[in-house]
């Protein structure tokens, strides 16, 4: 066991765990942040997608020892109150079915939009191909990303 200081959603936490413990399980079992999901454990499904310093990462493949001083963001910290454009678009278009993969989908999509505010369908394919949705809500996920892009750009217009 070793002690680690983690910065998660803007708050620092100290955990005492084995250094090879994946961040996924530190978040879920030790910090009680269960929005990040377990699906495969080998980085194939994307259900555990989080951000490390804004970049998408698979929580199941990131040992806690590798997190270092990175800023860790989970679905619980994406916005204070569920008003990130993707969260609004997801509710507006009623994207989810079972909902299990959607935290990972949204985290991957949030990283995409941060880099590329106006993604094409091809950009979405490239950025989202690592996230499985077993209910196959891909049609609405695609629409949801475009809608969030619209919401974000109209908000940007208003700010100007």
């Amino acid at each position: 066991m070793s002690k680690f200081n983690l910065l998660v959603n803007g708050q620092s936490h100290e955990v005492d765990v084995a250094p090879d413990t994946p961040l996924l399980w530190v978040l879920r079992d030790h910090l009680g942040l269960v929005g990040t999901k377990f699906g495969c454990g080998i980085g194939q499904c994307g259900a555990c997608t989080i951000h490390l310093d804004g970049n998408p990462a698979r929580g199941c493949l990131t040992p806690v020892a590798a997190a270092g001083a990175s800023k860790i963001t989970t679905i619980e910290g994406l916005s204070p109150d569920g008003t990130h454009p993707l969260q609004r678009a997801w509710c507006e278009l009623d994207v989810a079915q079972c909902g299990y993969c959607q935290a990972g989908q949204i985290m991957s999509a949030a990283a995409l939009l941060a880099q590329n505010p106006r993604p094409t369908d091809g950009d979405i394919d490239d950025a989202m191909a690592g996230n499985l949705c077993r209910c196959a809500t891909y049609y609405r996920i695609r629409a949801g990303i475009h809608r969030a892009s619209d919401l974000a750009s109209s908000a940007a217009e208003v700010r100007k």
Partner: protein, 738 residues
């Protein structure tokens, strides 16, 4: 818990008040006159605070409306749609409604989620629940004003006296309504569906905000104080016992509390409940997973140690070649004179279709949380079948079923897998042995290698068309693994000379319902072979299939299921889908359209797929048009469209990508790198859905839109390339052309 579920305290008050309000009445089976066993009998809430005329509904004096969702939410949207039905009849604003999840309790009636039956079973009952309450609120207002109830109307949470315009809000009527006798639910007047203002509109899922903020709690997210974490390792060869294991070493590993062999099978002799294995109990998931990598087990051989897919395929060919009179061949249906029809035919074709076992691959791996205290057990489970979970846990624990309390959590994908409760049985056994609350979590390999699979199958087909280009004979030999085509499965009853032979192979492979069981493969086999026959007859596939569907409205002559086939509903959706898709429009080489249609789960659905195949063989599904007849009323338009969109992509996923290999008695694939599934780049770019409303009771949409997709796509591939693919998954076939 997911959503503001009812606590025992809440629910006691709720049920108690239901009783107080009605003075010992019984409303259908939904109101009970007792209180839950072991709970104090004094009322915890003053009568008048709440109006609760049945267990599904309560209105508070501040106007807040609470509606209970009693069936498991697996992503089919039932937690939103059935409460909408109550709210519509009650006449309240949807934004004033809070939906809570009910625990397993007999007062809610049937609580499973499967077979797309929740809507047909509960739609009428939920209307009565809402209408009963509305009737009583109208009466309460009428009595308050001393006017006839017939002069009052209910709307948006209030009663209005039409002649005077006076208004009383529902919340203000709670006290009075609670004193009224509850009318016979059969006698209450339901709304005219033409006046519906909520049903048929697009309503977002009640837990959407929770889902997108990580607050929706699934089975895997449940916690109890002092909870420990378990893994349960079973033999890759199904059903084999652990002869020995290095549990003494495993117990010394960091974070491990205990490790032990379980050598029971419950129910005895079956492989779908508790089966033997080795448990590791640890203080965190990762400790349990890490310790597992050092576990070494010696397994016995198992009952079917040499089963293989290759072997099954060989046996199937031998059985089919041996002819109709061979042993192991059962004649399931015979109509007309099949031999004479083949002899007289203008054209006869033969084809063999086959498909593999596939997994449900629920994204939330199987899991359960059980706490046993004395002879009481509490279970938190992502189960489609809470009463089945209760029953098997009681059997494992040796306690009466009513000592087992089941909380139904949100579920990360069902698809039929969670109708079986093997993870619950395992977790109950571990919790009893451990004496602490235990959370059991399967890893992905457990999930893929111990699923209850969609069976593979082999179909040996021969068909004939006559000189007029009509289908005149159909001979089918289905070789499967225990479940076979039924005597009235399509196109039985529509072909004058028809023979269905069935055989089953000895196997030992655990099997279970997979979204649209049977139909999910039979639709592909029959839909593609019908397309082959249409081309053999030089007929347009839409015309050929419409001719096959004939001119009768209802084709009964039932076989095994006794269910009539409404040919007029099917002809209607086939004609409409051809029209909406622009059927027959010329397309360049490499592009094509295909038709699929199938009746399942009480739904009549036709789909046309439009595909492009590059000369190199890359497939793109450009567009799918679906025409869906599930009766007179779409409950939640957004949810219904979501189910159809998802079924279409899921159907494509299964047909294109999914395949399990079986060797030496076990499944080979261990994770999603080997068990590949469709991802967003391969999802169709356009999906168009049309609901063809007909004057039949509303039925479910969790399953029936899936079966027509595969034949539509495969027939489109033939139209595009001239290639007939008769083996699933599609990814095995080279589609290149020049």
């Amino acid at each position: 818990m997911n959503a503001p579920a009812l606590t025992q305290m809440d629910r006691r008050g709720f049920l108690k008040l239901a009783t107080v309000a009605g003075g010992g009445f019984v409303l259908g089976s939904f109101v009970r006159a007792d209180t839950p066993a072991g709970l104090p009998t004094e009322s915890v809430e003053k009568a008048g605070d709440l109006f609760a005329p049945n267990v599904f509904l309560r209105i508070a004096s501040n106007g807040a409306v609470t509606i209970v969702s009693a069936r498991p939410e697996v992503g089919q949207g039932i937690k939103t749609s059935l409460p909408m039905v109550v709210a519509e009849e009650l006449g309240v604003d949807w934004k004033d409604v809070t939906v809570v999840s009910g625990p397993l309790d007999p007062s809610f009636g049937p609580q499973f989620a499967g077979g797309s039956v929740s809507t047909p079973m509960s739609y009428g009952e939920m209307r009565k629940m809402g209408a009963t309450a509305r009737t009583m609120l109208l009466e309460a207002a009428a009595q308050t004003w001393s006017v006839p109830a017939s002069e009052c109307v209910a709307q948006l949470g209030a009663v209005r006296h039409t002649p005077t315009g006076r208004i009383l809000k529902y919340g203000d009527l709670v006290g009075k309504a609670s004193t009224l006798a509850i009318p016979d639910p059969g006698s209450v007047v339901l709304k005219d569906p033409n006046s519906f203002s909520l049903l048929g509109t697009r309503v977002g899922g009640v837990d959407n905000l929770k889902v997108v903020t990580g607050q929706a709690l699934f089975g895997i997210d449940q916690k109890r104080p002092s909870m420990v974490y378990a893994v349960y390792v079973k033999s890759p060869v199904w059903g084999a016992r652990a002869l020995s294991a290095n549990v003494d070493h495993v117990k010394t590993l960091p974070g491990v509390r205990d490790a032990f062999i379980v050598d029971r099978t419950v129910p005895a002799g079956q492989i779908t409940g508790l089966v033997p294995g080795v448990a590791i109990i640890a203080d965190s998931t990762w400790s349990a997973f890490s310790a597992r990598t050092e576990l070494k087990v010696t397994w016995e051989a198992g009952a079917f140690p040499s089963s293989s897919w290759e072997g099954f395929a060989g046996q199937a060919r031998e059985i089919a070649a041996a002819g109709a009179d061979a042993p192991k061949v059962k004649e399931t249906r015979r109509d007309g004179d099949i031999d004479q029809a083949f002899a007289a035919a203008a054209k006869v074709i033969e084809a063999n279709y086959s498909y593999p076992f596939i997994s449900h691959a629920n994204l939330e791996p199987q899991n359960c949380l059980v706490e046993v205290v004395g002879d009481r057990a509490d279970i938190w489970a992502p189960t489609q079948n809470p009463s089945g979970a209760q029953k098997i846990a009681a059997e494992v624990l040796g306690v009466p079923a009513d000592h087992v309390h089941v909380t139904i959590t949100r579920i990360g994908g069902g698809f039929g897998r969670r109708l079986d409760s093997d993870p619950v049985a395992e977790c109950a056994a571990l919790a009893q042995k451990t004496g602490l609350p235990v959370k059991l979590l399967w890893n992905r390999t457990d999930d893929l290698q111990h699923d209850h699979y969609r069976p593979g199958g082999f179909h040996f087909l021969k068909g004939a068309v006559d000189a007029q280009g009509k289908l005149s004979a159909w001979r089918s030999h289905h070789v499967s693994f225990g479940s076979n085509m039924g005597a009235d499965d399509y196109p039985a009853r529509f072909v004058p000379n028809y023979l269905l032979l069935n055989s089953s192979l000895e196997n030992g492979v655990p099997q279970g319902p997979w979204r649209a069981p049977g139909s999910n493969t039979y639709a592909w086999v029959t839909g593609c072979f019908l397309d082959e026959l249409a081309h053999a007859a030089s007929k347009d596939p839409v015309e050929f299939n419409l001719a096959l569907l004939g001119d009768k409205d209802l084709v009964s002559d039932p076989g095994t299921t006794g269910r009539a086939y409404n040919a007029s509903r099917m002809r209607n959706v086939v004609r409409l889908v051809a029209e909406k898709a622009g059927w027959g429009r010329p397309m360049p080489k490499g592009s094509g359209m295909g038709l699929g249609y199938y009746f399942s789960h009480q739904g009549y659905i036709a789909e046309v797929a439009e595909v492009t195949v590059s000369p190199k063989g890359d497939l793109r599904v450009d567009r799918v048009v679906a025409v869906v007849d599930v009766g007179s009323q779409i409950v939640n338009l957004s949810g219904a469209e979501n189910q159809v969109q998802g079924s279409i992509i899921d159907g494509l996923n299964a047909a294109w990508r999914q395949e399990l290999d079986i060797r030496e008695g076990h499944v080979v694939q261990a994770n999603f790198d080997e068990y590949t599934m469709l991802r967003i780049p391969d999802a169709p770019r356009k999906i168009e859905i049309h609901f063809a409303k007909t004057n039949y009771p509303p039925t479910g949409l969790g399953e029936p839109a899936l079966p027509p997709l595969a034949p539509a796509v495969f027939n489109a591939i033939f139209a595009a390339t001239g290639k007939r693919v008769r083996q699933l998954p599609l990814s095995r076939t080279d589609l290149s052309w020049s």
